[in-house]
Symmetry: C2
Subunit: 239 residues, 2 copies
């Protein structure tokens, strides 16, 4: 088993993914909110890039919620923003959601052609890793980054996942990027929230009074579900 | 002062460099060998990508040494490979060298348009940082990577430099990538050589009996010179 990490979606294009399980990480806040929504009974999420694409998908899909933000603010006319707190059981249970998320969707689409594409976060870290170990395939942790720039929160979560998988599968081979992610996570792990609040996206969320989101997104292992993406839809596989 | 790191040269294209000092890091082994050669009295180094470009430059430049490797082995007909031990005083003093280095040259060229482009390594780390602090400009540490993939040794050196600069200029702002590089360096610093030998390029060098190069490249602050690149030439500025 090989464990690899890409810090930006653009790096994925050079990699053959046919035998690889990809885990998408967009910690602030797309994959954290998706994980929360699915744990709260949401039926399916359709990730799209643009507002236009969201409206087009809404026409095609029928009755569903629209979720998304620009500059961390809910899009005008949408039902939900991108804060995980908005995806509560009373709002999302049994519903379909169309979610615009630029970086998250780019990362998901970069994993096209993978053996499986799973949605990861700190919240469902151990659950995701358990699934990865069951598959036994090579694994690629795909950090979404922000506007084609490295994001610390995604890399730290990648490092957390590398660390969990590597402890359980000590014979697994780590690429240089996987080693690097593990090293930065191990150095930061005793002060993760402070490090997260000092990151670019963390600072921005604090500035707009969403420090509760930062803290929420860095909670470890409070959710057991592992959302999967296939053919344009995120869903939970019935096991 | 802003401190930034790019883990791959391709990331540099999005950044305005006009006010930025770039430091090129290709630890195994181009920038380490360049630093060594300049400390040993080499007059100038012309970094090129291909063997053809090296021969063309040789015709243009006149009498000079040819240096370079493919798959870590000296190119047939060249005077020198890419091991820093080959760039000794008796060989390089007062000489001009044309050096083919794929990743190093790509990284150097990515920094086109910068305020200054300096050649960095573990060997001259403090000297480079001293120069950066004198300039007082924003700084970008450009990791060469290997064939468009992340290289741990370059990122660890970037982290070492971030750490030195940040300790001296505590008000400096670190980007997420600079934070990440510093975190991984701090986690690895008590076992740097072992981590380096376990990296992809480190393993390859050990396999071809160049473990002495790995150890040489991770020596801190044994050299005081700071090579600069401008208009196709690496040289030492007379101060």
């Amino acid at each position: 088993m090989n464990i690899n990490v890409t810090f930006l979606p653009a790096e994925v294009s050079d990699i053959d993914l046919s035998n690889t399980v990809c885990i998408i990480l967009d910690i602030f806040r797309a994959t954290t909110s998706i994980t929360t929504a699915m744990a709260n009974g949401c039926k399916a999420i359709y990730p799209v890039v643009s507002v236009e694409e969201a409206h087009a998908q809404a026409v095609q899909t029928g009755l569903c919620l629209l979720a998304g933000e620009r500059q961390s603010i809910k899009i005008d006319g949408f039902d939900l923003g991108n804060s995980p707190y908005e995806f509560s059981k009373d709002v999302v249970e049994s519903r379909h959601i169309i979610m615009t998320t630029t970086n998250g969707t780019v990362a998901i689409r970069a994993a096209q052609g993978s053996y499986r594409t799973l949605i990861g976060s700190f919240l469902n870290a151990h659950a995701v890793c358990k699934k990865v170990l069951e598959y036994g395939n090579d694994v690629l942790l795909v950090c979404a980054g922000t506007d084609r720039m490295f994001s610390l929160e995604d890399a730290l979560c990648a490092g957390f996942l590398v660390d969990i998988i590597h402890r359980a599968a000590t014979e697994a081979r780590l690429t240089d990027a996987a080693c690097a992610a593990q090293l930065m996570y191990l150095q930061a792990k005793d002060g993760l929230i402070a490090t997260a609040k000092n990151s670019r996206n963390g600072k921005r969320l604090c500035e707009i009074n969403h420090q509760d989101d930062v803290e929420y997104c860095f909670q470890k292992d409070i959710i057991e579900v592992v959302p999967e993406y296939k053919d344009g839809v995120i869903f939970l596989k019935q096991s």
